[in-house]
């Protein structure tokens, strides 16, 4: 029997039983569609989270005091842990590295701030002028901290939006003098940026020069140094150079931890890859169910067409030919179902995109390919049993419509 004839006969059988074909198409389509949709959701979550990290800047390197391997705690979380703290001099030394484009020392603490009769506790963030550029934050009104040496502590501050509203309501804040702890400083700007990054809520802060914050909290060390490398490719060199500079300054002791956004990003990538794969696995179960359905429908087809199988055998069809015919039929059913499933999946993705406009949903190519291949494979594998059953029929009994 020729390949083309086999396809033609099997296709005829598929098309001349539209209801049966439609049911099987539906089953397979739901399976394939489910894989596409669920993996799109997983992929979308991953893209969303990486997008958030990208927004933080992937050229950034963060320096903590203390070595993370020697302590189970978060480095720098407990002042007693740190053998030698990071200082403004360390920051200045790091800034001279050719692998550092800009940096900002960071000091964080909590202080009561007040204006007029209103007072509240607020996070006070001590940074330098470059901090805003590194973070990509934006100023709403006024300007950011002046570009002065780390040591200098002009009494100026920038407010987060919530802080500004709570202390000043509708009044203009820029130019007013704010009381921060025991000191006073002049408001030079209000942030436009909102939202949380690096565990700091941009709404709920007062930003002051780093030396000012050190004086305020009466400390000499730094919480962190945030560094921006010249390019993405320089990050490893930046990391190495910073470690080396600090080591030299700290008498040969490698007592800082340098982490990159990429490391964090990679971890999240891994988590979401696993999530997407798990979703794909769950959705694949529906493909196997579709395969079982194909098997059942093919078994019914064999019983319904017992006489036809008997006739084919009488006309000289070999076992192999009968199996080929029924498997080809299963193949057509499964692949049409797979194609319908791709359509269902992409329509579903489109609907998701329209519904959740903040996210982009794209089924990963591997999931699309895998869903299609698994659909066809499961249809074929589950088609083997019915095909063999047909091939094993006794021609005389089959011609009489009996199955044995």
């Amino acid at each position: 029997m020729r390949m083309m004839d086999c396809n033609r006969i099997a296709l005829g059988a598929v098309l001349r039983a539209p209801l049966r074909t439609a049911m099987m198409l539906l089953a397979t389509a739901i399976g394939v569609g489910a894989v596409l949709l669920l993996t799109s959701v997983g992929e979308s979550a991953r893209t969303y989270v990486s997008g958030q990290f990208q927004a933080l800047g992937t050229r950034q390197v963060i320096v903590f005091p203390g070595k993370s391997e020697t302590s189970g705690n978060m480095p720098g979380a407990m002042p007693g842990d740190v053998e030698r703290e990071l200082t403004l001099d360390d920051a200045r030394a790091v800034q001279r590295s050719p692998y550092v484009e800009m940096l900002s020392p960071i000091v964080v603490g909590s202080m009561p701030v007040s204006y007029g009769g209103r007072e509240r506790d607020t996070t006070v963030l001590g940074v330098s002028h470059d901090f805003m550029a590194i973070r990509g934050w934006e100023i709403g009104t006024g300007e950011f901290l002046p570009d002065v040496d780390f040591d200098r502590a002009p009494p100026v501050c920038v407010l987060g939006r919530t802080v500004k509203e709570e202390l000043f309501s509708e009044q203009v804040a820029v130019g007013k003098w704010l009381r921060v702890g025991s000191r006073r400083c002049r408001v030079v700007g209000v942030l436009l940026t909102e939202g949380t990054s690096l565990m700091i809520d941009a709404n709920e802060i007062v930003i002051v020069p780093v030396a000012y914050a050190q004086a305020l909290f009466d400390i000499s060390g730094l919480f962190r140094i945030i560094v921006q490398a010249p390019g993405r490719g320089d990050i490893d060199a930046t990391k190495r150079d910073i470690t080396e500079i600090i080591k030299q300054r700290h008498y040969g002791k490698e007592d800082v931890t340098v982490i990159t956004q990429d490391a964090v990003l990679a971890t999240f990538d891994g988590i979401f890859d696993t999530l997407t794969q798990a979703l794909a696995g769950i959705a694949s179960i529906s493909l196997v169910v579709a395969g079982v359905l194909i098997m059942n429908v093919m078994l019914v087809a064999v019983s319904q067409r017992t006489r036809e199988v008997g006739l084919l055998k009488a006309l000289g069809a070999t076992r192999r030919q009968i199996i080929a015919l029924f498997l080809t039929e299963a193949f057509f059913l499964a692949s049409f179902g797979g194609l319908a499933g791709l359509a269902v999946g992409y329509i579903g993705v489109f609907v998701l995109e329209l519904t959740f406009t903040d996210f982009t949903f794209t089924p990963p190519p591997w999931a699309v390919a895998a869903a299609f291949v698994v659909a066809i494979a499961s249809g074929m594998i589950f088609g083997i049993m019915p095909a063999r059953k047909a091939a094993n029929l006794d021609p005389i009994a089959a011609l009489a419509g009996r199955q044995s």
Binding site: R2, D5, G12, R16, A314, T318, R319, I396
Partner: protein, 193 residues
Amino acid sequence: MIKLEQLCRNFQVGDQVVHALDHLDMQIESGEYVSIMGPSGSGKSTLLNALGLLDSPTSGDYWLDGIRTASMDDNELAVIRQKKIGFVFQSFHLVPRMNAFENVELPMVLAGMAPAERQQRVQAALGRVGLEARRDHRPDQLSGGERQRVAIARAIVIVVTHDPAIGRRAGRQIRMEDGRVESDDKLAPVVNA
């Protein structure tokens, strides 16, 4: 040419063994027109199934055109059926979703014949049974007689060559009784078969 030698076909029915064909000897020459008669249960269908290679005998030998078929497996028998045997079943057994042309074409499709040759042969076979005009009709669009003629066309499409002697030679009537040949008579030549 068909030659049977001590052919037996036994069926187990409960505790009893039924000898549907009981040590049958028979020889049929090429071109002969044979009718087999007998009461029900005399073994006609069993004999035809055995001759059509749809069923394997319990014992004995069957030579078809000099080929000994008793020792062949299912696939080898299928190939011989493909090449040498045409069936016209009592209920015709046409494939309902195929039209007359496709039904007649089916044995040649299974034999893997080239489409061009198939086309020609189907046309010829449909012509011989007078159904050229019905080639695109499915069985449910044909009358009972037309369906039978499609079945005949399908049976002769591979087997029958244009031998003018066929059907005009002397006929032969075999009567069966209890799995044995009761009588075997030559008849007058059939005219207008």
